[in-house]
Symmetry: C2
Subunit: 516 residues, 2 copies
């Protein structure tokens, strides 16, 4: 009894200490989040505003997958041509929306890398921007449904122009209150130069949109060309510059090439926001199927009474494939998130090119639930089922391959972008490779197996779904075993355990040198 | 020309400096995010895992509003009784799901306040937990649709039991690898005591669920009672304890009352996760209507050709009310987010009671888009339109009132929970009050105005929608004016500008003393 009281004392003492520590810590972080500006208004850290914007934009980016997912495919008929046309139109709309919303997101990231603190006025302006961005997918689906009508393109251009206007307002407001700006610009003597450069880059889009909307009255296909130019011109010009610099040797840097608002492939991209945006997309995609299940797959009590003699279990068995599809897609999306999370844990700095690859990966992941749903909707061993399974494999393969590509792109500039552990020769290098390569390899394997053993395609696919999570759990062991095996084959003379320790020691070295 | 080159040099120099700084900073934060444990495995900061979990759970919490929103209400008929019963059932399911998922979220927060670092194994276990949580709403809608069938309750209990099992696994894994634990527990000599206490609290739920599932075979209404007890018992026992302590004077603290896993109303709740969860709910709710618009409100080309003579604009005019509803709900949800954001900027420590009030506020916000949709769906001046508008006002009122209540609850323990600026007499106190009171006041005003001037209810409502954003922009001016006016009325003798400065000076004092 005595001992217990003493224990409690210790605990309570610790509690007090901890609470004191926490209070100090949160005060510290608070001091960062609200500071007193010279003019007496409170400015705020933009962290939460950006997190909310990322959540909104990631929902909007994936929304156009819903019309694709809800296209009804009949059970017992082959995929008709008309249906295929309809589906491919909708998929095209989804992909275009995804890319355009991601471009808008990238512009937003760029803007708030310049303006690092906010106040109430900026928060409200940002909400107005968000509302315009959420409206973009709708204009896009109008364009796709009525390709000959100029209303869709006019609405799109109008949204873009107003969006540009709000961004200009935000920039002007930021430069009028310099304490809101990025430190680097704040201390710079060239604030006016920065301001003009940023405004010039931002104004490019609304001006092009103005031209596009004017041309839409004269010869509307030209408007589509202009819109395509808006998106791809910066990248094309960058590629062109890069090619020229490789061809004719090193060219001098133009005054344009600053840290902000260039379209350099290794211009830094906020890693935090890249993660937040990806998390949003992963979360929406993982729950897409359960949203449908909750809404549509509760049987009608009258039907259960009449058709199944009141047996709910029998009635629910009809929905079996939907549940399977849900679990399959949740697990796959969850594990792809896990791979993404593991990779970005070791990324120090994200670049625009990595962001681009990430976008492609996410665009494929958005199609996953749909593909999984299709795999379970057709009768066993039909040509459609085989096709659906193979499409799923292809989607998983590309989603995984682009994640692998992010790492490879990071390895290209590894000194700047990666933690020493996952660089060439780092101690987690082979483990990371295995993690990133697991899904592409499995998907490729499943694809070819289903080609040869088309009769067992469904069983192979289900087996894949079940084994992959366990493969991830056992991956570290598998990699260790694999590395040991390779070593045994290629250099059997060196004693096993020592070489392991040695390797770890070697890998640890550069890490220490970086830290100290 | 010379000057330009020099400028560029300066810029580039700054760029280099900044990049160096960034690299160091990100290395610093990286050192926090991956550390080397004694046993050689890399442990990771749980930040992103928790952000992803928050996103998933917030989607799931709001999902059951979709069946409510998609209940078709006919244009020209009065709300029939049967429809009202159906609607109220669905609303009840939504509210119950929201509460239960929030309880699961709170348990998750509690768990990861103990386990502060993760590794791959914990990340995968957490994904399994998430999958079980996403399945809860479906079991709940089964329960509501088939109240006499025990399948729903059995599925629910099964989910809960497996969830509890995974949580136990996570705790056991955490205590086997103490470097994953909260610092306070890590250094504590009572690890075993903590472990047993935490396991005891976690095991309570699955054991009760086991009883509930056994009783469901015997007398199923009892199972519902048990489930209700699981949720409310901790709060009831806390309230009872509190009442007793007030009635018979101060009782000694029981050994149970530690920082973790008590149900004290002022047990700390991670502020970061509260914000992340709220952001997720706000983001989903704000985009609910645009999701529907993108999917359903693109007219069929054939219909446009036939009915509207090819005029797309005429065809889209029919959807006018939907667009209005979307803009109205986006703006209202956005501004409520803005108020929430402003409030939590000044919250230093969140407590469980504030979390509870926040949940109620969010539950009302979830119903907002639906209410807005209804306001525009009925013919002008019908009884239904009036009802819908008044329901919207009531929802806005309660959403706002609960936000205000969060602040009032925080003021109750202001030394611990609030920044000095917004405490009694702080310089932002009246401004915060105005921000939080704006929506409830406007909603209440609109409600009573529509009672008296029922003929103009729609116009009043639209006017409210349009003026509120401007009111927020001008709020600071309005508050200054109001305070000056009050001062002029009650103490006209003191000179105006000086008293202002004085007040600011006074308000600044406690802030400085806290900081230094």
């Amino acid at each position: 009894m005595m001992g217990e009281t003493a224990d409690t004392d210790i605990i309570e003492h610790h509690v007090d200490e901890e609470m004191e520590k926490k209070r100090i810590r949160s005060h510290g972080s608070f001091m960062e989040s609200v500071t007193e500006s010279e003019e007496g208004h409170g400015t705020q850290s933009s962290h939460r505003l950006l997190a909310y914007s990322d959540a909104l934009i990631s929902i909007i980016a994936t929304v156009m997958i819903l019309p694709v997912a809800h296209t009804k495919v009949q059970d017992n008929e082959e995929l008709k041509e008309s249906l295929q046309v309809l589906l491919s139109t909708k998929i095209a709309v989804y992909l275009m929306t995804f890319i355009i919303v991601t471009v808008a997101w990238a512009a937003h990231v760029r803007l708030f890398q310049v303006i690092e603190r906010i106040d109430d006025c900026l928060a409200l302006l940002n909400l107005a921007c968000m509302m315009l961005i959420t409206f973009l997918p709708y204009t896009f689906s109008l364009m796709a449904t009525f390709p000959d009508n100029i209303l869709g393109i006019l609405l799109f251009c109008a949204c873009d122009m107003v969006l540009g206007l709000f961004q200009v307002l935000i920039v002007l407001y930021g430069f009028r209150n310099p304490f809101l700006l990025n430190e680097q610009i704040q201390v710079s003597e060239n604030q006016v130069f920065y301001k003009h450069h940023i405004l010039k880059v931002i104004m490019r889009v609304p001006i092009m949109c103005l031209f596009a909307s004017i041309f839409s009255f004269i010869f509307f296909p030209l408007s589509y060309v202009i819109l395509a130019i808006i998106i791809f011109l910066p990248y094309m010009s960058q590629t062109f510059k890069w090619c020229r610099s490789k061809a004719i040797g090193r060219v001098e840097e133009s005054p344009d090439s600053m840290l902000f608002y260039t379209y350099h492939l290794n211009e830094p991209l906020s890693k935090e926001r890249l993660e937040a945006f990806s998390d949003g997309v992963f979360a929406i995609v993982a729950t897409l199927l359960i949203l449908d299940i909750c809404e549509d797959n509760v049987p009608d009590p009258a039907v259960v009474q009449k058709q199944y003699g009141g047996s709910l279990v029998a009635a629910l068995q009809g929905y079996g494939p939907e549940y399977l599809a849900y679990f399959g897609s949740f697990v796959t999306v969850g594990l792809l998130w896990f791979v993404h999370h593991s990779l970005f844990l070791y990324v120090i700095k994200a670049t625009r090119f990595m962001g681009l690859l990430n976008t492609f990966s996410l665009a494929f992941i958005g199609g996953l639930p749909l593909a999984y749903q299709l795999t379970h909707e057709f009768p066993r061993n039909s040509r459609n089922e085989l096709e659906a399974i193979q499409i799923s494999c292809v989607i998983i393969f590309f989603a995984g391959i682009f994640q692998l590509a992010i790492w490879l792109a990071a390895l290209f500039f590894e000194r700047e972008t990666l933690h020493p552990y996952v660089r060439y020769g780092g101690r987690e290098h082979s483990f990371m490779l295995a993690k990133l390569a697991l899904y592409p390899c499995v998907a490729l394997g499943t694809f070819f197996l289903t080609c040869f053993l088309s009769k067992f395609s469904a069983s192979i696919f289900h087996l894949m779904e079940i084994t992959v999570p366990f493969a991830f759990i056992l991956l570290r062991l598998l990699v260790r075993g694999g590395v040991a095996l390779l070593r045994l084959i290629f250099c059997p003379n060196r004693p096993q355990p020592r070489s392991f320790l040695e390797e770890e020691e070697e890998a640890r070295m550069p890490f220490n040198t970086v830290v100290t």
